[in-house]
Amino acid sequence: MTTLADQPVTASSGSFKLSMLLNDTRYRSLTFQFIALVAIIAFMAFVGGNLVRNLTEAGLNISYAFLGEPSGYDINQRPIEYDSQSSHGRAALVGLLNTLIVAFLACVTATIFGVIAGVLRLSNNWIVSKLMSFYVEIFRNVPVLIWILIIFSVMINVAPSPRDFRGDDPAASMWLFDTVAVTNRGVYLPKPVWGDGSMIVLAVFAASIIGIFAFRNYARKQLFDHGRMVPVFWPSIGLFFIPAILTQLVLGNPITLSYPSLQGFNFRGGITILGSLIALWFALAIYTGAFIAENVRAGIQAISKGQTEAAGALGLRPNRIMSLVVLPQALRVIIPPLISQYLNITKNSSLAIAVGYMDVTGTLGGITLLQTGRAIETILLLMAFYLTVSLLISFFMNIFNNRMKLQER
């Protein structure tokens, strides 16, 4: 920059003329960039100067020391150890993990919803396809915040409260042989208790999963090399359940389940999935699912009809055409918009604040901001968090996308 900047001053010497900075395409772009640089610095001076002046006037300063101080508040969903004596920094971390949890759950569920709805929307079945377009249009055209609020309101008002489970003739009862309790505070599921030897059961289970993959590989090899069809579905199912269950029985039930039961005010024992998490998760999944459905539909329609017809001519049945011919090709069209939908889910999860789910916006950008009054610091950190997460997601998904592309060639 400095060499360029020298030019206007030393312009008179040699064959260089000042006007060349403007009229000569070799220099012009440099000139423009230099002006842009000065403009940026001037803008920084304007903004920074105001900031400093405003802060001094209000007697405030920028400091991140609050991150190390005890937060003083409790969080209801703690993926890592946390209590009110932990630091604000740790609270932010808990929030970040909660963000990632809901984003991950919603991404998976939204993909399932989206693929099902997208495929069914193209179905020949008139009622089904109309129902799916109804779903897509209704959810796509109403703000996600309204959906979150509706679903949350419905959940807390329609689901029974733990109080209703009490008494001799309770108004509500647990599901699935008294193992699952659905309340308006959340869903309580049985929790596995890992006894002695449970590691062996887990190891057997892992081994059988590997076994299933190996078996499927073998079956495919048989099919490709010898044209022999080896049945895959039932053996896989068997392999999935039988060895692990056998080990469990042989070792004398090392893994037991702890069932939720009503103790005091709440259900205890068992895994709790908070109501706010469910509402947010479901709302994000069903809303984004509608968008993914559109992407899937567009992806499938982008595959030329000849592909379907050719597959039909080869004698493939419709569901096989879909799973073996159309979807694999459509996937390449679908994945890029899918990535941006995943990013949208991650960003929209910040609406957790509307239902009191303690994500990073709720802890760092909510309670910490309010308790410490450090608005600028917390919001900058918050943006940095989301930016990092977004960039990481797009980075990994782009790698995945490129892999998919490479297979094509």
């Binding site: 900047a5 206007p8 403007l22 009229n23 772009s29 423009f32 960039q33 002006i35 842009a36 000065v38 940026i40 610095i41 001037a42 920084m44 001076a45 903004v47 920074g48 100067g49 105001n50 400093v52 002046r53 405003n54 802060l55 001094t56 920028i62 069914l120 179905s123 020949n124 079945n125 008139w126 009622i127 089904v128 129902l131 249009e137 209704i138 796509r140 055209n141 109403v142 703000p143 996600v144 915040l145 309204i146 609020l149 509706i150 309101s153 419905v154 008002n157 990013l343 960003k347 910040s350 509307a354 950008g365 600028i376 919001i379 918050l382 943006m383 989301y386 930016l387 977004s390 960039l391």
Partner: protein
Amino acid sequence: MSDTHAQTVAFVRETEIPPSPPPAMEAGAVKWVRENLFSGWFNTIMTLVALYIIIRIVIGVFPWFFNGVWDAGSIRECRDILQGTTGACFAVLVDRWDHLLFGFNYPQDAYWRPTLAFVLLIVAAMPALFYMYIPSKFLIGTALYPFLAYWLLWGGSLWVPIAVLAAIILTGVVFRLVEGMTVSTRTVVAGIVGLAAGVGLAYLLYLGAQELWFISTSVGQAGLFGTIMSLVFKLCSVFTYVFFIPMGIFVGYAIYQSASDGGLVTVVTSLIAISVMMLYGVGPVSSVLNGIIPIELEAVESRQMGGFMLCMMLGAVCVSLSIPLGIVLALGRQSDMPLIKGVCVVFIEFVRGVPLITLLFVANVMLAYFFPPGSGLDLFLRVVIMITMFSAAYIAEVIRGGLAALPKGQYEAADSLGLNYTQATRLIILPQALKISIPGIVNVAVGLFKDTTLVSVISMFDIVGMIRGPIQQSTDWISIYWEPYLFAATCFFIVCYSISQYSQWLERQLQTDHH
């Protein structure tokens, strides 16, 4: 007949048999139902499941909807009327209709103003939306609409928007005037303007350099980070101190130089003209005119606006502001100048990487710190700034797609015609790229419009904020949720669905062009 010939001749058919109706299973509705709904066990199950879902929805919704109570003063009255049967309490919508649409602070006798503005919005948007059917001269109406809408919504003197409009038109006149001058006249103008702009710029930069030095001394106390920041600011300051005079001279000289082809000098003169008129002309002129012929509506502050109107306003204002900004960002990102490209990329990726809600927090709690003390930007304006930045980044990406989709030949053809960058962009590239990008831009606009509900999180009373705040909190309508939320959802659905239908229609229109 057959009797007479029966014995003599074998049967000879003389007329064609009328085609017998197809078997009942293969005709009309039955066939359609069979082929479309029950063509196999899987399909049948799907149909039954779908029917079950539909019936459940209908059973759930219809009694609720048709038993609805429309006339009650509070949720308790509703319950009394319903006496335990299912039924909606739509009375809340009747009772709070105005609040849901206009917010609780908008003057009641002025409700016709936003309503009229809304109707006019549809009328004014027509020439732009259906540009292929409506003569382009009607676009003048579209261009005038913002000024009229501003006056209708915010009130005050009609002369303010008229004066602003006049200033803009005058600037256009100045532009034409300078463009049409002979070179010798323009040289004189360029000399004056160049001198003024050069001196002005140098002075501004000088102030900036002082400011930077001031910042560097203020941030220097806090730790290593502060020291580094202080050093950076010091460097910037020194840089600016060194270059404020050369920059002034250079820019002045560049303007002077441009007298021969008229590019820069026209633009700079127009810019100076519009700034001077906006700063010193509009206020006095409009107040004088208002003194002579007062045409005034009751002034309404942005803070008083709310309800669905606020969503519409934010949506319309931010989308229209973000399109030009998006175009600039997209062109910047395509540019081969690394610095400009870098700035655009960082801006776009940053904005796209963070949720809108954090940007709204910025508008709410941070942005005020970035403006001079007492500049008094109200919350509405700050929110508009942030949402515009947000949607500009997304629109920039859409337009970048459009730019990338143009065949390279178009760029080369423009170059070979000897067009410079501005001309090529304005005449060849942008018209085509924008046309490809329209459906994408419409999608962004729909998304943005839906996102305006997020302002309820920062205590603005848009329709969701109205429901979550004053309505659900009021003694009469405490914890009512289905009815108001469904109403809000319906409002958004109507607007968004029509826009997306338009977008699909437009896409089809544009597609036929390529065949």
